[in-house]
């Protein structure tokens, strides 16, 4: 085999490997989506989406998962908002103020480590904190624990988005006699589509997390009432219903998972849309 043939075969081989792994991922994802839909679609009805559980819901009687849908939305919205408020200054500090020091790579390393911590640990940590201040399992507790889960994800994804900003843009801005704070404004304009994607990504991660809210938000069949009362969440609704011995309730677990999946799908579509809508002025 001469050199030219060898290079051609290498090309074919690696292209096949890449296509194969793409196919594998697509098939696994497809299987999950299909099996959840197939098992859950039968139990998905209007009542499921518009009612909280009634008596005997977990034995197959009347009711729905509206408590978990609203609970999850409240938890994820609250946590994403808090995480955003805390992550934005960190990220803009790293990119407009800090320069390139050892301190900056230290912050990145810390965020990477925090990202890798399992969410059950954040749940347990949040729970100890709550015990210290005398807070019971509640929407507030859940939001705080979930904020801890989302913060490193949000900060690091936004950090990567800002790293894509060409240094020429920073320099062009500074050359106009801007302060660092004004530079931050320009960075925001340049990266807003990416930042919105990062926020929606963190939201999607937050809304699907079960372990962090297990101790901290608790669970209830009631609709969310106050920041200081427990709330239900979709991942835990899936978990509890799947744990019952009744096939019709297990079917509802799949329906709940389907609802969760749809929420995440809508969020992903929104993030794609935001890239298009907000990217009009972005300099590439």
């Amino acid at each position: 085999m001469n050199r030219r043939q060898k290079r051609r075969w290498e090309e074919i081989f690696f292209k096949t490997v890449m296509r194969g792994s793409l196919l594998l991922i697509a098939v696994v994802l497809g299987l999950i989506v299909v099996s959840i839909t197939w098992k859950g679609i039968g139990a998905l009805n209007w009542q499921m989406l518009t009612q909280a559980p009634q008596g005997g819901f977990y034995m197959g009687k009347e009711g729905g998962i509206l408590n978990a849908i609203t609970g999850s939305l409240l938890l994820a919205v609250g946590a994403t908002a808090l995480a955003l408020v805390s992550a934005l200054p960190v990220v803009f500090y790293l990119h407009a103020y800090a320069g390139r020091s050892r301190w900056v790579s230290g912050v990145r390393l810390a965020l990477d480590v925090l990202w890798g911590i399992p969410s059950i640990v954040y749940g347990a940590f949040g729970f100890t904190l709550m015990l210290l201040v005398g807070l019971r399992a509640s929407l507030l507790g859940g939001i705080i624990a979930l904020t801890l889960v989302e913060l490193p994800i949000l900060a690091r994804t936004m950090d990567e988005v800002l790293r894509m900003v060409p240094s020429d843009l920073k320099e062009a801005t500074r050359a106009l006699g801007t302060t660092r704070l004004e530079l931050t404004g320009i960075l925001l304009r340049q990266t807003i589509p990416g930042l919105v994607t990062a926020v929606l990504l963190a939201f999607g991660r937050g809304i699907g997390d079960a372990a962090s809210v297990l101790f901290t938000a608790g669970y209830t069949d009631n609709m969310p009432q106050s920041l200081l009362r427990p709330v239900a969440s979709l991942p835990l609704a899936v978990f509890f219903q799947l744990n019952t011995p009744f096939p019709e309730v297990q079917e509802r677990a799949y329906a709940s998972a389907l609802v969760l999946m749809m929420l995440v799908l809508v969020i992903s579509l929104l993030s794609r849309l935001s890239l298009k809508l907000l990217g009009k002025y972005v300099v590439r």
């Binding site: 020429d168 106009l176 002025y281 972005v282 590439r284």
Partner: protein, 253 residues
Amino acid sequence: MHNIAPHLSIRNLNVWLDAQHVLKDIAADIPRRCITAIVGPSGCGKTTLLRSLNRLVELGPNVRITGKVLFDDTDIYHPGMDVAEVRTRIGLLAQKPFPLPMSIYDNVAYGPRIHGTARTGLDQTVHSCLQAAQLWDEVADRLKAPATELSAGQQQRLCLARALAVKPDILLCDESTSALDPISARGIEDLLLTLKTDYTIVLVTHDLDQARRLADYVIFLWLGEVIEQGPAADLFENPAQDFTRAYLEREIG
């Protein structure tokens, strides 16, 4: 032309990037309302010198600077100096055009907006700066369009309009035509020639023909040192140093 005080006086300027001594004891004067060209081979420190003149050089990592740059007798490196103010009065036209992520109008209006100048008559400022950069006729009907829709040559003229809108006294040009096609490049050159009646222009170029076409005053830099400086006619026609002559005749470089 040189009987008036220089606009910028560089005194004993040394710049180190990392451990490298890039500019060595630079002393030079930049005359007012002239085009001064900094010439020399690649890597001689031309761009670093230019960027030292409005303190952009210090944005890089591990930079050390000693010496003075007197701007109308005020040292821009004085510890109490407001860097943003320095860069407001000494603007930059970079090598590659880089519009801000906003509309054509907002690109030009950005400087006046942040500096709080031209609060009234912002439209007028944008109009006159775009006209000075000879871009107005091409963009008048699409001021709200993203700046990125413009061609590279148009973007460079937009960057010029943006720099002028800040109302600087001095304009630094860092090989500002080298990323452009020949026609756009000539357009920018012609613009600089008209602008020198109102601005002091310092221009870095590795194109000696461009320096001959534009410069009134020339600083020849070699390995971080000023070899020779003087009026363009003298330096190009009758260089004092053999070294300069050799570079001009392209025997070295």
